[in-house]
């Protein structure tokens, strides 16, 4: 009976109970206890920095504009983090849920936390925070390593220059939203392979397909409403002018980019929520 006496010793009825904070903590433990997901978070930083360093080292060959603008600096610093970060975060988002279906962990998860919307919400929060944080590290790191290289060409733009911090925040939030988009797709499809293929197609292929459609320029400009074009807008310089959004002129402001990316992420998360609520686990 000693084992069973001990068994009751640490449990405090009425004290330990299911809570949203607990489920968030559980999801954080799950994310950080898998080498694959930690590796993907690190990859956002490594690839973001790597692309910026490569661009910095080839500045002389690539050519530098006469007057170094904030927009030029932002292109140099953010392109690696946004390009690779959106794909890596999207894949991580798919894996976080479809990996549970393929391994059977979803059973343990939903038995411990039977409120399915709580589980999905906790997953979305943990994914968004970790991927956004990784992208922020990548962006500020990229600025730090790129700054001296740009300075050699007379371009010295600090992070406090107008629009820079907002663009960095936009880039990081975009990567976080791509992860949430992946989570939504993974929840709908439940399969690692199908989810990864879908999230990559949606982010990389959709804007290309839309822009080559044999239709009027207005229809072709619908590609500006795609997820990855929203990301481009979110890291662009804020004072470019042109209003909020203009499809005929092909202009999307950073603010419109935030809105479009958020709608994509929320839309797929919503589809995932409907599936998760309706279907048996």
């Amino acid at each position: 009976m000693t084992t069973l006496d001990k068994q009751r010793a640490t449990f405090l009825p009425g004290h330990d109970r299911l809570s949203f904070a607990g489920v968030v903590r559980s999801e954080f433990i799950k994310l950080t206890s898998l080498r694959s997901s930690v590796a993907l978070l690190l990859a956002i930083i490594v690839l973001g920095l790597g692309v910026s360093v490569a661009l910095g080292l080839t500045l002389a060959d690539a050519g530098v504009p006469e007057e170094g603008s904030v927009g030029f600096m932002l292109d140099q610093v953010t392109i690696g983090t946004v390009l690779f970060g959106q794909i890596i975060a999207g894949v991580l988002g798919v894996l976080v849920i479809s990996g549970e279906y393929s391994s059977g962990t979803i059973q343990s998860t939903l038995i411990a936390a039977p409120a399915r919307m709580t589980v999905l919400g906790a997953k979305a929060i943990v994914l968004f925070i970790t991927t956004t944080a990784s992208a922020l590290v990548a962006l500020f790191g990229s600025w730090a390593v790129t700054h001296p290289m740009l300075a050699e060409f007379g371009i010295e733009i600090g992070v406090t220059a107008p629009g820079v911090l907002f663009a960095f925040l936009g880039g990081a939030v975009y990567v976080g939203l791509a992860a949430v988009l992946g989570l939504g797709i993974g929840t709908v499809l439940r399969s690692v392979a199908a989810g990864v293929a879908t999230v990559i197609s949606l982010i990389l292929l959709l804007p290309i397909v839309l822009s080559v459609l044999p239709a009027s320029s207005l229809v072709r400009n619908f590609h500006l409403l795609s997820m990855s074009k929203a990301g481009d807008a979110m890291v662009s310089a804020a004072d470019a002018g042109g209003g909020f959004i203009d499809l005929t002129d092909g202009f999307v402001s950073p603010g419109a980019g935030w809105l479009i990316a958020a709608v994509w992420a929320a839309g797929f998360l919503g589809l995932g929520a409907i599936q998760l609520r309706r279907k048996d686990a």
Partner: protein, 309 residues
């Protein structure tokens, strides 16, 4: 306490669980028996809310499982030994489950010790044997110190020491007043562990009650007698409701009478008995009798006669 009322699950046209009613009471080990595909796992999944019933209800301790404030404190469940990501350590897997309820690391280490997993707690689950996976699943089921424990085939893949550990654990959990429901296809294991049985076949309850009642209800008991005066004895005990087998080497089997009645009759008729044995049915016989015709998957060589009609 688990109570199911007209619990039904249909997948398209196939009815997996067909309006079943049952009650699993505290303080007893209840065995859930049935052939493959009978609806055992589906029923267990509905109890903890993984699958939604097509109609009907199942409640645990008076509420549907997801409506409890601390579900892990109400029910501990092992459905699938490998319901853990292979890339995660056993400790982190259990810690992630405990975290949902704010249960601390001390309790996690305790259930690891209880399940005998101390030496492998830091190792990744992917390298675990089926037996270690079962122990991990049982550890997960016990994290919340649950009032009700549900285990699906818990001794699958366990070595004899592990089988005995599960049996002792189930019995002591029931002795503490907890509700224990376990399924197993191992008849001898069930006979040793369970007090009560729910027998299910093709989604319907075939029998429910104390294990002894189910055996005596589903099998015929008889008395085996060895005597040199078999024919005289047969003539003596013959009567309505008594079935007597033809003597083989002086052995006859008499159904419909107790050993005491047979011995008294023999004594009165001056028949000398060399051996008298009460034959009671086994759980296996009872089970096969109950599930005859309810089996979804049956190998053809199990019925060598009359297979080609």
């Amino acid at each position: 306490m688990i109570e199911a009322r007209t619990l039904t699950k249909r997948y398209g046209h196939r009815t997996a669980v067909d309006a079943i009613d049952f009650t699993v009471v505290p303080g007893r080990v209840t065995g859930f028996l049935g052939p493959n595909g009978a609806g055992k796992s589906t029923t267990m999944r509905m109890i903890v809310g993984l699958d939604r019933p097509t109609s009907g209800r199942v409640e645990v301790n008076g509420r549907a499982y997801p409506e409890h404030r601390a579900p892990l404190h109400e029910v501990g469940v092992l459905l699938d030994a490998k319901a853990a990501h292979g890339g995660r350590s056993a400790y982190k897997h259990l810690l992630s489950i405990a975290a949902t309820h704010g249960i601390g690391a001390a309790r996690v280490r305790e259930v690891i010790g209880l399940a005998g997993l101390d030496s492998v707690a830091g190792k990744r689950v992917g390298g675990f044997s089926l037996g270690m996976g079962q122990r991990l699943g049982i550890a997960a089921a016990l994290i919340g110190d649950p009032a009700t424990i549900i285990l699906d085939e818990p001794v699958n893949g366990l070595d004899p020491e592990g089988v005995r550990w599960v049996r002792t654990l189930m019995r002591s959990l029931a002795a503490e007043g907890r509700t224990v429901l376990l399924s197993s296809h191992l008849m001898s294991e069930m006979a040793q562990t369970a007090d009560r049985l729910i027998v299910i076949g093709r989604g319907r309850i075939l029998a429910e009650g104390a294990i002894g009642d189910i055996i005596s209800g589903a099998t015929s008991s008889a008395v085996r007698v060895r005597t040199r005066q078999a024919e005289l004895l047969a003539a003596t005990v013959a009567g309505p409701g008594v079935v007597i087998s033809a003597p083989v080497d002086g052995v006859i089997e008499i159904a419909g009478m107790t050993a005491e009645q047979v011995a008294l009759a023999a004594s009165a008729a001056g028949v000398v008995l060399h051996e008298i044995t009460s034959l009671t049915g086994s759980l296996e016989e009872a089970y096969l009798a109950l599930t005859a015709g309810e089996v979804e998957y049956r190998s053809s060589n199990s019925a060598p006669t009359g297979a080609h009609k």
